[in-house]
């Protein structure tokens, strides 16, 4: 029988660190503001 192993919650600092300098891609929308936002 397959038993699901309880996996300890990954502590924040244990997360795989993002390579230094990499920036998450901007969300596709909404786009850039060309003049000003009212």
């Amino acid at each position: 029988s397959v038993a699901k192993r309880a996996v300890a919650k990954v502590a924040q600092h244990d997360k795989v660190p993002r390579p230094v300098g990499s920036v998450p891609p901007p969300p596709p929308c909404p786009g850039r503001i060309r003049h000003f936002k009212i």
Partner: protein
């Protein structure tokens, strides 16, 4: 394994900007009143493939009013976006387009325009004049006085009012009314109009000559009036611009479909 669906279009992708340009051109080309609008932001874009080389595209656009009246022959790229402190007007538009064999066409559009809130403007600029209702008494008085003043001094055609575009009223340190309005030349000279103004009719569509006036009327501490009217010269009107030459319009926030 079926090909992976194409990545969704980003709102700043060149293809999205090209679609937005077609949509904004359509909106300005089919508007009957007010001012030309410029693209401020692509809020969202959704592409629904219908078959080979056939997509339906839904676009949500955030536009800003420019200083060009809708009748102005100036290309949109030459039109200045109304500044925040001049009490900007925003247009929210939903547009449905079809891209068939690479050719874009607008199937439907619906827009709602509204002025920025007075609180926003005053927060940034406490003494900035605010937009006034177009049927405010001082506004109507200023437009009438300005048009009469122009017609009493010009050697050219007698001008009739087409629509009041916008009006600001300032109370401090001087009480003044600033108005913008669209006009059309009639078949009379201003001189002839003095004798029989009823005979002065708007020129027929194949000779129509529209123009635009701005005026500042100081109410206090002293009375003063400055008027500036510019005629655009005869242009071949788009079919639906003819709509203008029959009715004088007073405009508030506006829905157009």
């Amino acid at each position: 394994v079926p090909a992976a669906p194409p990545a969704p279009l980003g709102c700043d992708d060149p293809e999205s900007e090209a679609v937005a340009e077609v949509a904004v051109s359509y909106i300005n080309g089919h508007s009957h009143h007010g001012y030309k609008f410029a693209l401020n932001r692509i809020e969202n874009i959704l592409v629904l493939p219908q078959g080979p080389n056939n997509d339906i595209i839904f676009l949500e656009l955030d536009l800003l009013e420019t200083t060009c009246h809708i009748l102005s022959p100036l290309p949109l790229g030459n039109c200045t976006v109304r500044s925040f402190t001049a009490h900007a007007v925003e247009g929210d538009c939903d547009v449905k387009l079809q891209k068939l064999d690479g050719k874009l066409s607008v199937l439907a559009s619906k827009c709602h325009s509204h002025a920025d809130s007075s609180e926003d403007v005053l927060q940034l600029c406490p003494d900035c004049p605010l937009l006034a209702s177009l049927n405010n008494t001082d506004v109507l008085t200023a437009v009438t006085a300005a048009l009469n003043d122009h017609n009493s001094k010009t050697a050219d055609a007698y001008l009739r009012l087409l629509e009041i575009g916008r009006a600001n009223i300032q109370y401090n340190p001087v009480h003044l009314v600033y108005v913008e309005f669209a006009v059309a030349a009639t078949n009379c000279s201003a001189e002839a109009a003095k004798d029989n103004v009823e005979a002065c009719q708007l020129l027929p569509d194949d000779q129509s000559n529209f123009g635009f006036c701005t005026a500042t009327m100081v109410i206090r501490p002293s009375q003063d009036l400055k008027v500036n009217c510019q005629l655009y010269g005869h242009q071949v009107p788009a079919p639906d611009v003819l709509f203008f030459s029959r009715v004088v319009w007073v405009r508030s926030s506006q829905d157009t479909s």
